[in-house]
Amino acid sequence: MELVLTSLLFFALIATAIAIALVRRLFAVVMLAGVFSLLAAMLFVLMDAVDVAFTEAAVGAGISTVLMLGTIALTARSEKQPSSYSLVPLVIVVLTGLVLIYGTLDMPNFGAPDAPVQQHVGPDYIRKTPQDIHVPNVVTAVLASYRGYDTLGETTVVFTAGLGVILLISGLGRRPRRRKRGDD
């Protein structure tokens, strides 16, 4: 049943991507991008990556919808009709996709317990974390203690990026009015 649901969600994802490429009205594209993110988040939930799914839904369907709407407010509302169509990008994308699919053929099955990624250092962390860190959740222990400085750096980067975006949006909104006042 999960396989059926996963394939249906993948087909819906492909249909959404084609629709995003075809539609020229940018409001519709923003809404379809939100749907794309929600579908991807549901696929992540089906693969048991709930935290990734939550990030995808919060960033993809939440904040980037708002940011793209703000961009539309500052620029144009509909995409220009392209003057000429070229097949080269499509061929390159299809070839890259085929190479990537060929690359997955050698990988272990999804969720296989004997995959190399599950054998290397994972068992050590699972065994030692309760004694070393005294935190029952291994993921939390890795993020907040083993990789604490890394997480601090990431938080700083995200905070700086948010500040920059806020300054950009508010500054661009105010500049035309000030110029008008100077002309008077």
């Binding site: 649901l5 549901m42 799914a53 839904a57 708002v66 709407l69």
Partner: protein, 103 residues
């Protein structure tokens, strides 16, 4: 039972995607996106029970909150035509421009 329900929810999502793609007005699309988010919440809950682990219900609740905030943001955009400083802008539209103080 749960698999039948999840297939029905997916059918709803397919119909909503048709409306998103073809919807003549913008409000059709906003409403379709909001309903799509609600369908996502329902599907996550159903899939949790289908897999025998209803722990994902908290995540489904958070999705509902994100969906609500996103819809509010889109509708605020339609109302004010901008997102950053909407309140200040509404004031400047309503009130006359203040005079420069004389020096």
């Amino acid at each position: 039972m749960f698999s039948f329900i999840s297939l029905l929810i997916f059918l709803c999502m397919a119909i909503l995607m048709v409306r998103l793609f073809a919807g003549p007005t913008l409000y059709d699309r906003v409403l379709a996106l909001n309903t799509f988010g609600s369908c996502t919440v329902l599907l996550i809950g159903t899939v949790g029970f289908l897999a025998g682990r209803p722990d994902f219900l908290d995540i489904a609740l958070l999705y509902a909150l994100i969906n609500f905030v996103g819809t509010i943001a889109v509708l605020k955009f339609f109302r004010y035509r901008r997102l950053g400083d909407a309140v200040e802008d509404a004031d400047s539209i309503m009130a006359p421009e203040p005079e420069e103080p004389a020096k």
